[in-house]
């Protein structure tokens, strides 16, 4: 029995401490080093932040270059599919354009009316936009995020909104010198204060880790309150980070529990990083 225990101890000791000819460090040293790195990355000292930021800079750029061949073939496939469906897409777009032209007329009127009403209560919304290219969109089961090619040198700050066209896709969570990371709406950790229209229900939209979101923090009976037809979710502006009225997604009549985001997060190439200043202007 004692011999068996000795064998176990010898095997464990040998596994953790013995170095092979080509190994420069023992396993135990490296395990302690990785624990040290995990603890260190938890502190917010300036020196650690600079080192972390430098590591991020180098790795993001390297990952972007290494992914170039893969992205080239991915784009080639997408372009081919677009080309094949060109005629069908043209007809569909033509019909949509006609409808949108009609819609535009009533929207213009509402826009002017909205501006007038805001000026009556002495409120204005200023925005600052930065265009950015998506460097890496490696999604993982753990974190749905994208890496952008604009960082602190371009005045990007944590919390800024990421917009694809007119749709909200996420917010900045990490800023390095030349690049930044944005958390997508689909991530489990994403929570966006929103308003469900046309019923004017305040809610929080949370990511699920999949390609859709869910409604949180609202009364259970909200589904009964929703009118017939599709529901559109917009930002409510309650957090103070985003302006009210940025479209997020649509809740279909058949699937009341799901929010389908307007933007396709797998197809993001260029986005806008936007900061809003909401308040009265003197």
């Amino acid at each position: 029995m004692a011999a068996g225990r000795d064998d176990f101890v010898i095997a464990i000791r040998s596994a953790f401490l013995k170095k092979k000819d080509k190994q420069k460090f023992s396993l135990l040293t490296l395990i302690f080093l990785s624990i040290f790195v995990i603890i260190l990355s938890n502190f917010n000292f300036k020196a650690i932040q600079i080192i972390k930021s430098s590591i991020n800079e180098v790795i993001y750029r390297s990952s972007f270059f290494i992914s170039i061949p893969e992205n080239y073939f991915k784009n080639l496939k997408e372009n081919f599919e677009i080309h094949m469906g060109l005629y069908e897409s043209y007809n569909q777009t033509k019909t949509e354009l006609e409808n949108l032209k009609q819609q535009q007329l009533s929207d213009d009127f509402l826009k002017i009316e909205n501006e007038k009403l805001r000026s009556l209560i002495d409120e204005n919304i200023k925005s600052n936009e930065i265009f950015a290219k998506v460097l890496i969109d490696k999604e993982s089961p753990y974190l749905k995020s994208i890496v952008l090619n604009k960082g602190s040198k371009d005045d990007v700050k944590i919390g800024m909104a990421i917009i694809d066209g007119v749709y909200l896709v996420g917010q900045v969570i990490e800023v390095n010198y030349t690049n930044s990371r944005a958390l997508l709406l689909s991530d489990l950790n994403s929570k966006i204060p929103s308003v469900l229209e046309p019923d004017d229900i305040q809610a929080v939209i949370s990511g699920t880790g999949g390609d859709f979101g869910v409604i949180e923090h609202t009364q259970d009976e909200y589904e009964k309150k929703l009118e017939e037809g599709d529901v559109i979710a917009y930002t409510s502006g309650l957090g103070g980070l985003f302006k009210p009225g940025i479209p997020i997604g649509k809740i279909l009549k058949e699937q009341r529990e799901k929010i389908n985001f307007f933007s396709d997060f797998t197809q993001l190439n260029y986005v806008k990083i936007v900061s809003y200043k909401i308040g009265s202007e003197k």
């Binding site: 080509k22 396993l27 490296l30 974190l143 999949g210």
Partner: protein
Amino acid sequence: MSSLNKSPFLKIFLSYLPLLILFFSVFNEFDFNYLKLDYFSFNFVHLLIFFWTLRNPDYLGYLAIFFAGIINDVVIGIPIGISSFCYLLLCSVTAYIRNITLSPNFIKDWISLLFTILLINSIQVIILDLIFLIKVNYMDYLINSGFTFLFYPIFFIIFNFLNERITKQPND
């Protein structure tokens, strides 16, 4: 083919291949860990590290595995050091198995992979969810562990073939 095996360039290339595959996997955007398919994903890097550190650790050093973990953390955006720690735990299990095993047995390796993967994924979930308060989907981890276990035989055949090519001497 036999002439190719004698080529010193090919020999060097093959000897660095496990390392190249490891770094390519962690750097590249394509990830078996997230295939955009419902209820299907597996961790290729875990399989790679498990096989090579168990069968031929000379071609996949611990320091390289440590750096691959750091890169993986930065690319996928989780706190730095977590993947390194998990990869090295995987290495410690394989080192232990190597020490207590006289003749390698595929079935024993396969079963020990299941326990190891469940252990390191549990540790990763505990670190992310309880320490760093990053919400994770437990079901995704469970599915990932299951498929990683199931896919081992396929990658075992591929890696074993590569291992034989690497270790084969020109006069063999």
